[in-house]
Amino acid sequence: MIVAFIQRAIVQSIPLLFGSTGEIITEKSGNLNLGTAGVMYVGGICGVMGAFFYEQSVETVNPILAVIIPMLTCILGSALMGVIYSVLTVTLRANQNVTGLALTTFGVGFGNFFGGSLIKLTNADVPSIALSATSKCFKTTLPFADKLGIIGDLFFSYSFLAYVAVIIALITSFYFNRTRSGLHLRAVGENPATADAAGINVTVYKHTSIIIGSIIAGFGGLYYVMDYANGVWSNDGFGDRGWLAIALVIFAIWRPNVSILGSILFGGLFIVYNYIPDLSLSSQELFKMTPYVVTILVLIITSMRQKKESQPPASLGLPYFREER
């Protein structure tokens, strides 16, 4: 049962890991994107739309195309959301919180609207969006996984996107700490005026990191629909995972490698109520609070300790305008 619990926790953790890695990249450039929840919805529904049109247009599904097409549409959709946010906040210097919230309203609405109306809009002859063929391709696991017993279950039983999530998080961590460009990005987030004076192109760094961050977050939505939900889109099914991903950023104190473990912990907290015996329905609701309570505790502790390494990027949330230095 413990193995099953950890397995389920890891499956739950992957969307959060994608979301938080994306959000960390964005926040490192000094932009607090509260629209991540919306971006993840859009990433999910764009993947669904890509897969839907592909499945409708062909007789037999080619496994490679069935994976590539939804991924491309997902990238396109979430990158566009990133562009909306970065143009408004970086180029037009709009307030980041307001833009982010508007992006969430728009993105969640976009996801639910097309999720609920896609069949009506395309006059397709299917009762509901169930992309089982595509989902099957996404869920292909390593062939030797079931032969390895518990180790196979714990480490090798997931679909490829789960490993992509971990690899992206590790690469991001390496990028921040070991590369020159990563150093520049952190400088932009800490103090854009100083970075600008040092000859770093602040605008380019901000735009790029927001858009790449959005794309990575969008994969979280794609993983949720194609893997966790077996290709079935249900409105509001994704729930508050986008906000939880933002919470995870704080929990991981802006480090993607910590975020890997943090996301598994959050995934576990998210479903732990299923594994406690004799829990009444009402107490389950109380247990669902735990990820948020834990986040608040981390937030309070980090602010009390005032440790330099565990603080948010110094210019987080502030627009940068060269002439105001």
């Binding site: 143009v87 210097r93 307001v98 508007a102 728009f106 609405g109 906000w243 704080i250 948010p312």
Partner: protein, 369 residues
């Protein structure tokens, strides 16, 4: 000359800050943004529904104000949204990002419902309604107080703290819905007894809420503009250093303002539960706590302008829902429309505060000096 151009390369587009455009010209920019946004929304709707553009806008208008009943629903939506927007405004003016309005209003609603359930048998209605109001104010104030204490003492990030408090409130409400549900385990509360509904003025059950919020708007305007506390809020918002220097107790102002903000959110929850929905569920507030932030910000924190911005949002919301119902589309259509409108208005602020200059070769020398 050529060498100079190379060594002193001027970018093609140059952005400069200017004194913000004032008065009717600023309004013109914003109106232009709304018109542009409506055009985009119209094109999108035509694309999705095969309506012709004119009937898109007419069904939008009919959907929002087509019948007297719809007008009242619209006005009530406006009032509740306005009430929450008024609540978050003092906090924003202080640059305290209270994203927790959703949760603060929800616990207010929960307190109202709880009072009706537990004190309903022991207290007469005309006595219970004030008790419900006070309970909702206290509940909302507590929900606002918790993050503000940590902000004041240790500078804990309030954006994320208040955000998390929303979900704690939501889970708390689902918990109580399960505990007190009838029949047991359905997760739904019974409607509260009709005796404890807010009074009906004339024959309209929404009028009380609307008038209540109208009075609140005037009070908030006076509070922010003419009271000493309102002045302290704007000083703290502009510069904490200045506030400390002139002897304002910044911590006290932060905590006091957030208590007020949370308390008014609690009132919004009270109005919704006692005056309109007559029950509480985890989706009672329905995202208004987040929309209110945009309403308040778009109105530049002026309570009277907020009437206009919340009218705009509520109007589009009702209208888009009508279009969606007519064409068997999803209700979330209205969220897409709202999002697009807000993007445009946010973007238009840039043209009020900044001017864009393109490179001109003749002017170059004059500028380089």
């Amino acid at each position: 000359m050529k060498a100079k151009i190379k060594s002193n390369h001027e970018p093609l587009i140059h952005i400069a800050k200017k004194t913000p455009v004032q008065g009717w010209r600023a309004m013109l920019v914003r109106a232009g943004a709304i018109v542009a946004a409506l055009l985009v929304c119209g094109i999108l709707t035509v694309f999705l529904t095969d309506l012709n553009p004119i009937s898109v806008y007419s069904s939008l208008i009919v959907g929002a104000i087509g019948t007297p009943r719809r007008i009242w629903v619209l006005l009530h939506d406006l009032a509740i949204l306005l009430c929450i927007s008024l609540a978050v405004t003092p906090a924003f003016k202080m640059k305290f990002w209270n994203i927790g309005a959703e949760g603060q209003a929800l616990v207010g609603g929960l307190a109202t419902a709880a009072c009706a359930m537990f004190l309903g048998n022991s207290l007469p209605p005309h006595f219970l309604i004030p008790v419900m109001l006070i309970a909702s104010i206290v509940a909302g104030a507590i929900w606002g107080l918790i993050p503000s204490i940590f902000k004041a003492l240790w500078g804990t990030n309030e954006t994320l703290f208040t955000l998390m408090m929303n979900y704690i409130a939501i889970q708390l409400v689902s918990y109580f819905c399960f505990v007190f549900s009838v029949p047991k385990g359905s997760g739904r509360l019974e409607p509260i007894n009709e005796k404890f509904w807010l009074p009906v003025i004339g024959d309209n059950d929404y009028l009380f809420n609307i008038l209540f919020v109208l009075v609140l708007t005037v009070v908030m305007y006076i509070y922010l503009k003419y009271s000493k506390q309102g002045y302290e809020i704007s000083v703290v918002g502009e510069s904490v250093n200045t506030a400390t220097y002139i002897g304002i107790n910044v911590k006290k102002v932060i905590i006091r303002t957030m208590v007020i903000s949370g308390a008014i959110c609690g009132i919004a929850g009270f109005l919704l539960v006692a005056g309109a929905n007559h029950t509480v569920a985890d989706n009672t507030i329905g995202g208004r706590g987040f929309t209110a932030i945009m309403v308040s910000w778009l109105a530049k924190f002026n309570p009277f302008s907020m009437i206009l911005t919340s009218l705009l949002i509520a109007f589009l919301d009702r209208g888009a829902i009508e279009i969606a119902t007519q064409h068997k589309l999803n209700d979330s259509f209205s969220e897409i429309i709202t999002g697009i409108i807000i993007f445009f208005i946010i973007g238009s602020e840039f043209f009020i505060n900044y001017s864009v200059k393109f490179r001109k070769s003749e002017k170059k020398e004059a500028k380089n000096k």
